[in-house]
Symmetry: C3
Subunit: 207 residues, 3 copies
Amino acid sequence: MTLIAWIDHAAVLVFALTGALVASRAQLDIIGFAFLAILTGVGGGTVRDVLLDRNPVFWMADPTYLGVAVIAAFVVFFTAHLFESRYKAILWLDAAALAFAVAAGANIAATLGQSAAIVVAMGTVTGCLGGLMRDVVANEVPLVLKQGELYVTCAVAGASVMAFAPMLGLSQTTTVLAAAAITFALRAGSIAFGWSLPVYKSRPPRN
Amino acid sequence: MTLIAWIDHAAVLVFALTGALVASRAQLDIIGFAFLAILTGVGGGTVRDVLLDRNPVFWMADPTYLGVAVIAAFVVFFTAHLFESRYKAILWLDAAALAFAVAAGANIAATLGQSAAIVVAMGTVTGCLGGLMRDVVANEVPLVLKQGELYVTCAVAGASVMAFAPMLGLSQTTTVLAAAAITFALRAGSIAFGWSLPVYKSRPPRN
Amino acid sequence: MTLIAWIDHAAVLVFALTGALVASRAQLDIIGFAFLAILTGVGGGTVRDVLLDRNPVFWMADPTYLGVAVIAAFVVFFTAHLFESRYKAILWLDAAALAFAVAAGANIAATLGQSAAIVVAMGTVTGCLGGLMRDVVANEVPLVLKQGELYVTCAVAGASVMAFAPMLGLSQTTTVLAAAAITFALRAGSIAFGWSLPVYKSRPPRN
């Protein structure tokens, strides 16, 4: 398995862990865990593949991705009580998954020869939509839209590395690692140190 | 119309009834009823067809499916007050629709020669996603994720019949009926007798 | 740029403005504004293109649509405080966007030679799903399902013009303008004068 295939599987695995952790907060059964783990794990990449018209979709071409997500669900079902704060675990695992998924997703678009705008869009879609589906279905406030935190910004920044690195003559492996590293560094900085962009401030009228 | 085409239409019709009943709970107008009926009726099968790259999507190839859903919307608009408990009606109709849709969806994947994992996945997608869209859009707690009930489990079990029956040498019609029967029996047992799998138990921290 | 291309871009732009205004109500940062603007602006058309199997999807064929949505996000980020009522601004801009999107979406299906049912469906999908995604993701009550207001009805009526105008021998441009005008007129009448269809009335049991 190449490094890039490894990162691809890691993105599914780690997102699946966050889906299963959300399932534990909702106190579902093991099949509910597997459902949310699969939805979160493969959701973003599925939208990416449908948009890019890749046939078959990655997890249909290689159903081991589904197996990976199911294993994640089982692991969490029997170990979630060991986490001191499951919310914190979700946050940090989600940050790692975001980094892997953005890099893997943007890399797929780049490999297909897509333009810079589409590479950035596909990295962002792959990184953000699985977690967004998880949060919408489980009725949690979407991490994507959490006020005063960097999230989509990290995805856009990481995917931009992928879009513009070819101009620097970097190898594909280096670029993928750099994209993942920048995505994770920004997200980690936001979680740990409160890094953020200025938010829109005027008091929102809700009339 | 073959038995299988009949089951296919029945899945759309009965899911559409549940969509219209949810519309009645939200007190929408007749077009709102039709919108939710169509979304619920064809939602799961649409995702299945997009994933399987079937072109055109089933209701675009045969728009009578849309007509079926619209009729369901009209019927419910004028009769919903006759139900003693619309929530109970939704539950039981949804159970029937789940059974039809899982069998029809898994059968389509099997007919295309997909692997067992994909047959199970497509049955589950067809069965679960229409109702999930209905609940997310109408802001109800998704039935799919209702604590302490079998739901996705029924879909996975029914679709597994479809995936593994060929090994038993059963005819296609028998297999489709068996898949629907098992899905419905499990779901009915869960609604009526509280059948369930153990749920994840530790108290969920919401910090 | 032809009139029809202009309407197509206008639909994305104006829906993007509503997405950004919803972002301002949620007090997001500029990238959050851009994310919701893009989702709302291209969401409906993306579903339409996936269903119609148009490859590539319109904004991948021409990424200036993404640029248009990003510009809308920037404009709103720096000017949203100027609106007396952002909710009212969202309502009226959404009405205009609905009109443009229904006409543009139905026209694309008509140009592809689809049947009347599919033309109406694609107009409705293009008009309604971007705003629906915006509202579901931002956890607002979907405008599509607002009680006692015409919404989907306006889309269906406007798209029907597109489906049946060829029988009257009208030119494509006239038809597109008529479809947009009727959609907007109905929606405006509903917002301004309370035009509505009878809603389902029996008290909804929530047991």
